[in-house]
Amino acid sequence: MAIVVENLTKKYGDQKAVDNISFEVRTGEVVGFLGPNGAGKSTTMKMITCYMAPTEGKIFLEGLDVDKNPEEIKKRIGYLPENNPLYTEMAVIDYLRFCAEIQGVEKEKISERIHEMVDVCGLGLEKHKRIGELSKGYRQRVGLAQAMIHDPEVLILDEPTTGLDPNQIIEIRKLIKELGKEKTVILSSHILSEVEATCDRILIINRGKIVADGTSETLRGQAQGREMLKVQIEASNGADKEAVKKALLGLASVETVKELEEKENYFLIQNKPEASSKKEIFDLCVKNKWYLLELTGIETKLEDVFRELTN
């Protein structure tokens, strides 16, 4: 189910929590909302799931206007809200049955669906416990199970891995990737590695606006179109540091050269946009009979992109 969001705005009083954003999510895509706290990720999700109406703008799911067909839409969405609220006094299995019934799963299929969810989310040992007795990680699994119980076409997961231990996080990510093959998934997070590991596409949201949109590779490329290199050169024929630096600066593709303290004759080179100086550096060394001890490309991390866009 494709999701189309057009000029979405949500105001709380005078403050714009979401400010005129538009995007599209195609069927079978896993999209990650990334942004600092209070950026408008949860608010956007609440509007897509029919919890809140937008102040302005439209949302369409497979061509259906969310504002006009909430009943139909809600049946086809599975939602895990932020902080994962649950009826703590209910037993896990009773709660899942309640969710299945209320989402209109056919009577004959309910037991089968519950079994499947218990299996998929690893709740086998806990299924008869009351939700209030469960640890945070298990509650999160119950939250995921209730979101998926009616086999929805769209999954909206607001910070699905908070409170999980590293093993569980890996499992849940695997699960999301698996689900993403046939379902449309939107998840939010402020953990960059998580979004990078699970999502086909990333939307970075800051102060209610989309500041970047693309795969993690394109985002990295956008933010830092220039290659950075660390180079160590041993100038055996008596050339000193300054001479080497000067020679490097003389190369056509090199923009800046910075001396690094860690090792001898160690430089940080930033290239000119869309140019690579690797070959030139090598040729330079060959020409001067210097030894090239190290030549490492520095990858721009998504962290850097994120920090640059949201600060």
Binding site: M52, T55, K74, I102
Partner: protein, 241 residues
């Protein structure tokens, strides 16, 4: 309809899972039983085979118990955030409110059903006006429904259960006794209006076995008003501005 029933059932089970139901039923039976059969003014002293004493005491016990039942209905969902989960399921706000209403009402009906042995006992004691007793039970159910509706509305206004409880009592006390007191001090149109607004006027005619459409309209309109207001409070988050 199926969704409402699913919600109603969950609501009712949550009362029985959380002791609320048992405490309420035991206290209700204890109080009404004591006053009906054992107190200084009991059935044997009055010497009439009817349940007027029971209806008189239930008129007050239910008034205090119902806000305690309804206070958590919506306020707790708002406090814990489960309302977000519930509203994003395939149900309308109207179904949520109706489910809560029916769940609470069924609990009261269960409590009242526990007093059917009283009815059986008095039929053995003498000639009983069955119409009056059925009317009395019916009146108690309608009155409960009205206070449940008000209680759910009070609960929809706040996410604090205590505030919801007190608010429900505050609104309820006007209909329960204050309008009646005010009516007795005024005459003419105002007096009539205040008298019509008082629950006792309608409850008493029902518990005499008189089924008047005016009484039914009275209860039905307040039940509906409470539910409509609750639904409005719930769907407020969905307004565009």
């Amino acid at each position: 309809m199926r969704s409402i029933w699913v919600l109603t059932r969950r609501e009712l089970t949550s009362y029985f899972d959380s002791l609320t139901a048992y405490v309420m039923i035991v206290m209700f039976l204890g109080l009404s039983g004591f006053f009906t059969w054992l107190s200084a003014n009991n059935i044997f002293v009055i010497g009439q085979a009817d349940l007027q004493v029971f209806f008189g005491i239930s008129y007050w016990t239910l008034f205090f118990f119902i806000p305690a039942i309804t206070m958590r209905t919506l306020s707790e969902e708002k406090r814990s955030g489960t309302i977000e989960l519930l509203s994003t399921k395939a149900v309308t706000d109207w179904q949520i409110v109706s489910g809560k209403f029916l769940g609470s009402l069924l609990l009261v009906v269960v409590a009242l059903a526990c007093t059917i042995p009283y009815y059986i006992t008095v039929t053995r004691l003498g000639n009983v006006d069955h119409g009056a007793i059925i009317g009395g039970y019916f009146g108690l159910i309608l009155m409960s429904a009205m206070y449940i509706s008000i209680g759910i509305f009070a609960s929809s206004l706040t996410n604090n259960q205590i505030v919801a409880f007190l608010l429900a009592l505050l609104i309820g006390i006007f209909f329960h006794i204050l309008f009646e007191i005010m009516a007795s001090g005024s005459t003419g149109l105002i007096g009539n209006v205040l008298d019509y607004l008082s629950v006792r006027t309608h409850f008493e005619s029902l518990s005499r076995g008189v089924f008047d459409t005016r009484d039914l309209i009275y209860f039905a309109s307040f039940i509906l008003a409470g539910l409509v207001l609750s639904e409005t409070m719930l769907s407020k988050r969905n307004w565009h501005n």
